[in-house]
């Protein structure tokens, strides 16, 4: 049972991580949004699985919330934003695809090294998935700094949020429900604020390419 639980945890967190990697390989905002949606679905499934194996019914509620907010509501809002700006293909990122894939592989290795002390003190059977969550954290940060379009950066930020949620679920079977609710609200609010920023950037510069923001200096 413990063995299966551990395998499921690692499997699920690998799935979440892989959805993050799709962002580096595919081009086009629609594909990014789909990847984010699937990531949230896998994360919700993993949360429910941890709730089942760890015997913590509260996690079912968290999983349901995850599904509603991150797999349905936010992707829908994102699609609307993407449609509004009629953004098709993303301009070439600062780091090309091949290099960024290799960099992300190295980041995951780094995460394995960084998560080692965490794994050593954690007692839970889900601890083996923690390096993946850390890896996703690093990769989302990398996405945020290496992409030019504001909406991609927002998706990177949302993935960062997913990574933190994953880490919480794996390390401590989730934080108390009330904290989780606060975090969800924060994420949603943060996203809405960013959406307003996006609109403003678009209004002012008639593009969502953050490279153009350098003009602010003049």
């Amino acid at each position: 049972m413990q063995g299966v639980f551990s395998q499921v945890a690692v499997m699920g967190s690998s799935g979440v991580l892989l959805c993050g990697l799709i962002l580096l390989w595919r081009r086009g905002v629609a594909a990014y949004i789909t990847a984010f949606t699937w990531q949230s679905v896998v994360l919700a499934a993993l949360t429910a699985a941890v709730g089942y194996f760890g015997d913590d019914p509260q996690l079912y509620a968290v999983a349901a919330l995850l599904l509603v907010i991150k797999a349905v509501a936010i992707p829908r809002l994102l699609r609307r934003v993407a449609q509004r700006f009629t953004v098709g293909r993303e301009p070439a990122p600062y780091v090309n695809t091949g290099t960024s894939l290799v960099v992300s592989g190295l980041l995951v290795l780094l995460a394995h090294a960084a998560a080692r002390p965490l794994e050593a003190i954690a007692e839970v059977p889900t601890r083996a998935g923690m390096p993946m969550a850390m890896g996703l954290l690093f990769i989302s940060l990398f996405i945020i700094v290496s992409r030019k379009m504001a909406i991609t950066q927002v998706i990177g930020f949302l993935m960062l949020e997913n990574a933190i949620a994953l880490l919480a679920v794996l390390a401590t079977y989730g934080v108390p429900l009330i904290v989780e609710l606060g975090v969800f609200l924060d994420a949603l609010m943060g996203f809405l604020v960013m959406q307003i920023f996006l609109y403003d950037i678009h209004e002012t510069f008639s593009t969502a390419d953050v490279d153009v923001l350098k003009r602010l200096r003049h």
């Binding site: 299966v4 551990s6 395998q7 690692v10 690998s14 695809t97 995951v108 394995h112 794994e119 083996a128």
Partner: protein, 316 residues
């Protein structure tokens, strides 16, 4: 160890692989045709092609050197040797001592190198272009293969094919371990690149801008072409068998009892059909990648292999 029954099964398994390879290629073509709303040729069409080619005369370019004549035999021979090493039906075989994953991969690479040499040999423009592309892809798929192999070997504690299959049979839970699954996906992507399947090379076209494999064998005709084509189908079969029998080894016979062999035969055919169907679906769904995006695809495979290796360290 080297008993006659074992050797007979070994030889029988290689012959079986040889006999099944054209059917596999035909099956993929048939299935693709069906999914694209065409009737498609029956799956035994490749046998008819082989028979036709073996009967035909050959035309060899005046500029061809001995490499051109040697290459088909090296390509065919090395692929047949590989099919002797891969566990098609039974897992511990007389040749198991040399059935190493590295040996398998580099024997297949030997065939690729000779194919590329033959493409260059006659000095035709297409052949050279095909060879150059093939070598580019082979060079960048190497690290990805090595990593996928390494993660399998780490899980089993050995690069021996029989050992890996036996280890997975002994511990069924390891088959759903992330290292295993990621390595499977990584190897599948590399397999597509190595056997010239769709996102990398289009096996059913002679359009000069896109072809890789077809460009190299453009100068071949008659029995030589038959050998090269047969070898390429066999290579596909070997890769699919590796994917099926290393990652999902159940059904593989562990003794030489006839009933176990029958089960092994059925399960191997079933696995091949499933994997071939996956290839056919994939080839119907995706378009060919631009040549410049192929390194990115292989980088995906490389990263998956890296993740597989990393997670096989963290799980234990």
């Amino acid at each position: 160890m080297f008993d006659t029954a074992g050797i007979a099964v070994e030889a029988g398994q290689a012959l079986l692989a040889l006999a099944l390879a054209p059917a596999l290629a035909g099956f993929i073509r048939w299935m693709k045709a069906r999914m694209q709303n065409r009737r498609g040729a029956p799956f035994w069409q490749p046998y008819a092609e082989l028979r036709k080619l073996f009967r035909k005369d050959m035309v060899v370019s005046r500029h061809a050197s001995w490499i051109f004549h040697l290459a088909p035999f090296v390509i065919f021979g090395s692929t047949v040797v590989v099919s002797l090493l891969v566990p098609v039906l039974v897992t511990p075989l007389p040749f198991n001592a040399v059935a190493d994953l590295f040996a398998v991969v580099y024997l297949l690479l030997l065939a690729t190198v000779f194919l590329a040499l033959a493409g260059l040999d006659t000095g035709s423009a297409f052949g050279g272009m095909g060879s150059s592309r093939e070598m580019t892809i082979a060079a960048i798929s190497e690290p990805a293969i090595a990593l996928a192999i390494l993660s399998l070997a780490l899980a089993a504690g050995s690069t021996n094919l029989g050992e890996i299959a036996a280890r997975t049979i002994a511990r069924p839970s390891s088959a759903i371990s992330p290292g295993h699954v990621l390595a499977f996906v990584a190897l599948f992507i590399v397999m597509l690149a190595e056997t010239g399947r769709l996102p990398v090379d289009n096996p059913s076209t002679h359009l000069e801008l896109t072809m890789i494999h077809e460009a190299m064998i453009l100068e071949y005709s008659g029995p030589y072409l038959a050998l090269v084509e047969w070898a390429s189908w066999l290579k596909l079969l070997v890769f699919l068998t590796l994917a099926g029998n290393l990652f999902v080894p159940w059904g593989l016979a562990t003794s030489l009892a006839p009933s176990a062999l029958a089960v092994a035969f059925l399960s191997t055919v079933l696995k091949l059909v499933v994997l071939a169907a996956a290839v056919a679906v994939l080839e119907t769904r995706v378009a060919k990648l631009r040549l410049f995006r192929v390194p990115e695809l292989l980088a995906v495979s490389f990263v998956l292999g890296l993740l597989a290796v990393a997670s096989s360290f963290s799980v234990r």
